[in-house]
Subunit: 187 residues, 2 copies
């Protein structure tokens, strides 16, 4: 249990708080007894309600087949504590064996879907496939977040933001501004 | 000229280095004598070659009409030096007057498109509309970056990563790891 993170339910329409800033995610999925984890850096929030997130999953990935068939996934939010696991996941293939077992990560059951989350992550967003129209051409999946679980502390976890070439940016500083009219910043 | 940033050409297939980490962007556009700037937090890299970036632009935005008609835009990368301008742009409407003039920002000509960039930003990515199939349903535009200009220093600019509610995360720390096999992390 040592590295597992206690989480609470979180409103799905507010997931932008964790996803809009662009952290690397770990996408976990399962189908017919197989499961996989991949790193995900190409994603964006698309809507508050329903809570939509779009992402690119390269078709060569083992996870690509699992999510196409199961139409489900979990978006897990790792922090700097998991940087070595993130690198190991991003630089190996699901075809070489189960990544949960190999890396000592704990599958955690989600609400409403069968795919397992990763207990060691700061947050988990359980997703169902919402639109696959752009998958054939762009490998672009649009997901609906149907349930979210988030650790209550720290309020701003030290997430990993990838800049290519083995360089990870970590938001260590926070700036605050009043946003009175709240248009594009907080629609 | 004081705040304007000197930039050099940058390979368009490498824009993920600046965009994948999820910074707030300033999207500038123009059409038939009108121009506008908006903040953009919902975006993702989608492909290296052609260099594709997808983003959501709320249809109520003045910029939405300008980019739909001109089929062009510039994605500008602001740093912490421009945080107050970012807030002002994100909390006002283009219908209330020209944002370049109001905020003392300098329009800068781009290669290959008519839309102006913002000279005070660290980088500029000139974009042409690549696919508007998802605009009606999701306000989601897919752009091709046709030219990029980037300041040579600092190598990792202090970008703004929005977490909602007036909170901006700033990547002030850098972690490096060897990524030998380079699968999902560096496809």
């Amino acid at each position: 249990m040592g590295r597992q993170v206690n989480k609470r339910d979180f409103p799905v329409e507010q997931v932008r708080r964790y996803l809009e800033s662009g952290p690397l995610l770990l996408l976990s999925s399962a189908h017919e007894g197989e499961r996989d984890i991949m790193t995900l850096g190409w994603h964006t929030v698309m809507e508050f309600t329903p809570s939509l997130v779009g992402c690119v999953i390269a078709s060569g990935n083992r996870s690509f087949e699992l999510v196409r068939r199961s139409r489900e996934c979990v978006l897990n939010l790792p922090t700097t504590a998991l940087i070595d696991e993130v690198v190991a996941i991003g630089t190996s293939s699901g075809r070489d064996g189960d990544k949960f077992e190999r890396l000592g990560l704990s599958p955690e059951q989600q609400q409403g879907i069968a795919a397992p989350g990763i207990a060691e992550c700061h947050a988990q967003f359980a997703c169902r496939l919402h639109d696959d129209r752009l998958v054939d051409q762009y490998n672009f999946f649009i997901w609906e977040v149907i349930a979210a679980r988030v650790a209550p502390t720290p309020r701003h976890p030290r997430t990993l933001h990838y800049a290519g070439g083995g360089t990870f940016l970590v938001p260590d500083k926070i700036m605050r501004r009043r946003t009175p009219a709240i248009l594009a910043l907080d629609p």
